[in-house]
């Protein structure tokens, strides 16, 4: 037993990812952890989206199943699994059957390289970001086959829209990512990296998150990516493939029950996946905020208390709402449930204050917190924006984001080559421009 604990401890203290160490056992454990965590995240997202959207829309959202509707996602999952499995008679059955699995597979596989911490990734590939972009764009295959196999007009249009949209936004996305790769090469050896962990470590080494690098170039790249990633995941305001008011449900119109829930699962895990890319590339991955301004052991300690504080606050919220529950015998079980949930959150919070846990969890916490910020943005967009039209969507992709991305890439490259670019490039260019103007004026 003691040996086992020592073994686990030695592993946790190592500086390599399970994949990097070639340890299949630990890799499997990590895969199970990531898969489980992702499923919980999707369930939580389901509840949060309904609640947040509801509160934006002056209503309450789910309130019946469990306290404050906390068990609603579970009830939904059970409902979906128990539903009749319908495959339309005219559908291409095999393709119809495979399509949701392709989408889910693509959405989950990308998490192999997502770095939750310096060692908390299943593996660290030297082509990490390329792998993520490549695999996540495989999901378009599943969507197209789903639309095609349904043998129905609405899914077909939805699938075509989706494929066109994902392909066009991937270009701009790729350009934004490239500018970050250029930034990673600004170290002593001058070699950049595609590794997800390497990108975060480059930000640590350069003492700056890439969103602030070469201001405003890093910010522009981030904005391009933030727009493209919403389009990439087919969410509002770019949710044309499943535009409810136009195409009823788009590519998954003919899907129901379990198969539909797979699409749902894939959509939310894809959202988490692209948010993780954005967090890793621009927001410093697992790094805590203000590493430069608020440094030193005291601040280290303060920031490492955040996970515990967050959970304790959540627990306090639960207790507050338990006290506000209606004092009616009908609500007895719900009240006890909410209090129990609060106790669980509180215990987790207190556990997170323990030094050995605290030290190891901080990275994961900051990463998750940043991703959660993006998740909130997704919900916010959905509550705020109307939907783009297809041609406008294409216009934004090709005529706005793509040229901006190209310019950004060139500017980043120039700036990265010469730190004193202002005097060597911009100023001569400006003189040249003014000279041409003088010449033109003299012609008059």
């Amino acid at each position: 037993m003691h040996d086992l604990i020592l073994y686990i401890q030695s592993y946790l203290d190592s500086d390599r990812t399970p994949g990097g160490a070639g340890n299949i056992f630990w890799a499997t454990v990590y895969i199970l952890l990531v898969f489980g965590g992702l499923s919980v995240a999707v369930i939580a997202m389901n509840w949060l989206e309904r609640k947040i959207l509801a509160h934006m829309q002056v209503r309450l959202g789910p309130m019946r199943v469990g306290p404050h509707g906390l068990l609603q996602p579970i009830a939904d999952a059970i409902k979906l699994l128990l539903k009749e499995d319908i495959i339309p008679a005219e559908a291409d059955k095999i393709v119809f059957w495979i399509a949701p699995f392709i989408v889910v597979l693509a959405a989950f596989t990308v998490f192999v390289v997502v770095p939750f911490g310096p060692t908390h990734a299943i593996t660290d590939m030297n082509i990490g970001i390329l792998f993520m972009l490549g695999v996540s764009s495989l999901s378009v295959l599943g969507i197209v086959t789903a639309g095609w196999a349904s043998n129905s007009h609405y899914p077909l249009i939805g699938a075509l829209r989706s494929s066109a949209q994902m392909v066009s936004y991937e270009v701009a996305m790729g350009l934004a990512v490239l500018s970050v790769i250029l930034m990673t090469s600004l170290n002593a050896t001058g070699t950049g990296t595609l590794s997800m962990i390497g990108i975060v470590q480059a930000q640590l080494a350069q003492g700056e998150w890439f969103i602030f690098k070469f201001f405003p170039l890093g910010l522009i790249g981030f904005v391009i990516f933030a727009i493209a990633m919403v389009a990439e995941t087919n969410r509002a305001p770019f949710d044309l493939p499943e535009a409810e008011s136009e195409l009823t449900a788009g590519f998954h119109t003919e899907y129901s029950g379990f198969r539909w829930s797979l699409f749902f699962l894939a959509e939310y895990s894809a959202m988490i996946a692209v948010s993780s890319i954005a967090v890793t590339l621009w927001l410093g991955g697992w790094l805590r905020p203000f590493p430069n301004a608020l440094s030193g052991p005291t601040w280290e300690l303060v920031f490492s208390l955040f996970p515990g504080i967050t959970f304790v606050l959540l627990a306090l919220m639960c207790f507050y709402n338990t006290a506000r529950m209606p004092k009616h015998p009908l609500f007895k079980i719900q009240t006890i449930g909410l209090a129990g949930f609060g106790v669980v959150l509180g215990v987790i919070g207190l556990l997170l204050f323990l030094t050995p846990v605290r030290v190891r969890v901080t990275d994961i916490f900051w990463f998750a917190a940043k991703v959660a910020g993006f998740m909130y943005l997704y919900i916010w967009y959905r509550g705020t924006f109307p939907r783009y039209r297809f041609d406008q969507l294409m216009k934004v992709g090709w005529k706005v984001l793509l040229p901006t991305g190209l310019t950004l890439l060139i500017c980043t490259a120039v700036w990265a080559m010469r730190s004193d670019v202002w005097f060597e490039v911009i100023v001569p260019l400006w003189h040249y421009f003014v000279g041409i103007l003088h010449w033109l004026v003299s012609l008059l």
């Binding site: 829309q57 109307p386 939907r387």
Partner: protein
């Protein structure tokens, strides 16, 4: 329209060919569809996403209201009109009551007229609120719907207090009103006005300058003034095309000539202008209600109307400005207690005919936006 010089441009159009002579895609939008506002079925001929033409199939909600009228007395038919445009039941009732009153040659007392105007204008606001919510929902903004429904509730509360019903109100009687305004009616209407004025700004804040909203609605579903007149389009849709035609001003009924208000018009006749016109109309309705509520006279609420209504032989056409356009009642009386024939001119039905003209050459998403902005109610289209 046989003379080519008087031919409307919409009849000169030839159907376009598809890009690269591709096959046309024929899509049935409806009768069960989230964005057709009921049971409208639109058969779309598509070239990819582009609409080559469309055909509306209606009648899924046909209840034979006009035929029912022939077997009911004038009084008995009054509640039926509420079920046509169920979003603006009060306007329907006003049109019917006034038509029969005209046939009987009686006039409702002044107090009744004022209360009628207040309730009708409140109903216009309620109808526009419902339109705004669903229109925004159709172009993908899901939140405004909840705001408009929250505020519409206040109007429905006033209706409920006045006559006990929220939607199919049956608020008016032939010759005036059945119910005296309840205690505190005026105060509540005034309260509503102060509550509602900032809410319109709130709606506008969400949509009027929203970039995506502008792109989705500007230049979409354009119809010119002459085209709109040729198709018989009325109401906000016509006014958005720049035609200043409002029956409240043109052929004043009730006591609208006593009130000071403007007719908001647009210039381009596109979806955005229709949106702006309706938003402005809500403000104008508030103005009318404000004046009416300040000037409600005392007096009787019912004119002298016989218990058994037996209009003289004759026929009458009376139209009012319903929230959706010109709502007309053509009543033929054979001197008996039951109308010989009632024909309703529903604004939604006529406005819907413009859909094909508005949507040709646009994209699928525009069809949704245009249907939303035509503000049709299928209960009224099919009757």
């Amino acid at each position: 329209m046989t003379d080519p010089n008087t031919l409307s441009p919409l009849e000169l159009e030839t159907p376009d060919k598809t890009f690269l002579d591709a096959n046309e895609l024929i899509i049935n939008m409806g009768p069960q569809h989230p964005a057709t506002h009921g049971v409208l079925r639109v058969i779309l001929r598509l070239d990819g996403e582009k609409v080559m033409g469309l055909e509306c199939v209606i009648g899924y909600l046909h209840r034979g209201v006009e035929k029912i009228a022939e077997n009911r007395t004038y009084t008995m038919f009054n509640p039926y009109v509420d079920r046509m445009d169920y979003v603006a039941a009060v306007s329907n009732g006003l049109g019917y009551c006034e038509a029969v009153e005209k046939l009987l040659n009686v006039e409702a007392p002044a107090r009744a007229q004022y209360i009628r105007v207040i309730l009708t204008e409140l109903n216009r606001i309620a109808s526009h609120q419902l339109w705004l919510g669903t229109h925004a929902l159709d172009i993908g903004a899901i939140t405004p719907l909840f705001y408009t429904f929250r505020d519409r509730e206040e109007i429905l509360k006033i209706f409920e207090k006045y006559c006990g019903a929220r939607l199919t109100t049956h608020a008016f009687r032939i010759g005036g009103l059945q119910y005296e305004a309840y205690e505190g009616f005026e105060r509540e209407v005034k309260n509503f006005l102060t509550f509602f004025a900032p809410k319109i700004d709130e709606y506008e804040e969400l949509l009027t300058t929203n970039r995506i909203c502008l792109e989705r609605t500007k230049g979409v579903g354009t119809i010119s003034g002459p085209d709109a007149i040729a198709l018989g389009v009325t109401g906000p849709v016509l006014r958005a095309s720049g035609v200043k035609w409002d029956i409240r001003k043109a052929l004043p009924y009730a006591n609208y000539k006593n009130f000071d208000f403007e007719i908001p018009t647009g210039q381009n006749g596109d979806t955005y202008d229709r949106y702006l016109v309706r938003m402005a109309e809500m403000r104008q309705s508030c103005r009318i209600i404000e004046q009416a509520v300040a000037g409600i006279p005392e007096g009787p609420i019912m004119a002298k109307v016989p218990k058994v209504i037996k209009p003289p032989v004759g026929e009458i056409y009376h139209s009012i400005e319903a929230p959706k356009g010109e709502l007309g009642y053509f009543i033929v009386s054979d001197g008996s207690t039951q109308p010989y024939r009632i024909r309703v001119r529903p604004p939604s039905f006529v406005n819907l005919q413009a859909l094909d003209v508005m949507c040709k050459g646009q994209l699928v998403a525009d069809v949704i936006a245009v249907i939303g902005t035509l503000d049709i109610v299928l209960g009224e289209v099919d009757r």
